[in-house]
Amino acid sequence: MLVERLPRDRSGDELRELYRRYAGELFGFASSALGDREQAEEVVQDVFAQLWRHARDYDQRRASVRTWLYAIARNRIVDAHRRAAARPKRAEDGSLDSAAEIDASLDQAVLRWQITAALARLSPAHREVIRLAHYGGLTMREIAERTGIPLGTVKSRTSYALRSLRLILDEMEVEP
């Protein structure tokens, strides 16, 4: 197990592997929650610093590596929100005040990132039909007219697209 080997990792190979597995989604999550690329990068750096400093404390019976990393990231993001809340506010500032607000905002950010990531994993044809039908509010007939795709194909493609999306979200442990 990579995390268990981390305390003895003199080459950095284990850390590299963990980074390549999890950095992308952690960055996506932090970026979505903070709306700031630079801060999100700082969060990812901090998460991996915590990971190697506390690798000996990790207990796989309590949580998966992914869950553990998300918990660390979440704490760092809460800290960032608190720092933003402590600064003098400007009229246009969207800083969050209470812990409940931060929690709700983080849950929303996680979900938003997961949906975006799931859509990105669909085929372009499936993603397009969802974009037109759900976000564009077009009927199947209107989509067929606009794209030149036979109506029956548009209907079946929409069903397949939603099934694929559901499967991807199941994999990502997004509850129905």
Binding site: A23, G28, Q45, L111, Y135, L162, L165, P176
Partner: protein, 225 residues
Amino acid sequence: MIGCRSHGDLIGPYIVGGLEPGEVEEMREHLANCDRCAAERRRLASLPALLDTAQAHDTVAAVSPQLEDAVLDRFVRERAQTSPPRRRWSRLAIPAVAGLTVALAVMLALVLPGGGDRAYARAELWSTSGHVLGSASVAEVAGGTHVHLHAHHLPVGRGAVYELWCVRTDGRWINGGSFHARDDGTASAQLTAAVRPGEYHVVVVTRPSVGGKHGAEVLRGKLAY
């Protein structure tokens, strides 16, 4: 479960509200009588609300390659600092050992060009105008590379801070940290970069980075193994 043969393809359009009014009515009646389609509808029913949490044009933010370098670099630096605790020496032993160390270092410097470290490669550092203005020797340490750098005639008019980079064979630049040149343009530094033997072959000294991009190149050298 993917719905029945006659109406299975209509479940998706029904859920996203894409059917014509007559089809919606037909689908409602069908769902009341078809267990397969009803189960499929229940399975997919939460998707519109989930899709509402995102925007049509949201994109998955890509991680910059520099972030991996920064994470690994931090790892190497912290690892280098967490060396095993040293034993306490007596007051007399410390100066004695220091004296012996200096003497040994002088001897090694005289015998071995570039010092007596565990260097596995060296490079002459060339300025952009084609003059040799320094040298670098590299030694492997836990998780990375120690670079021993000596330079002279560094321009200090626009500031004395420089950065060291190791250019990997895949073209990526790995930051080895920054150092200061002295007022006379000379510099000696020991820096650590998150690269390993064989992963890179070029060492570059630049002006400080600006906006995530490395500064202007000042010195460059190719490692001789």
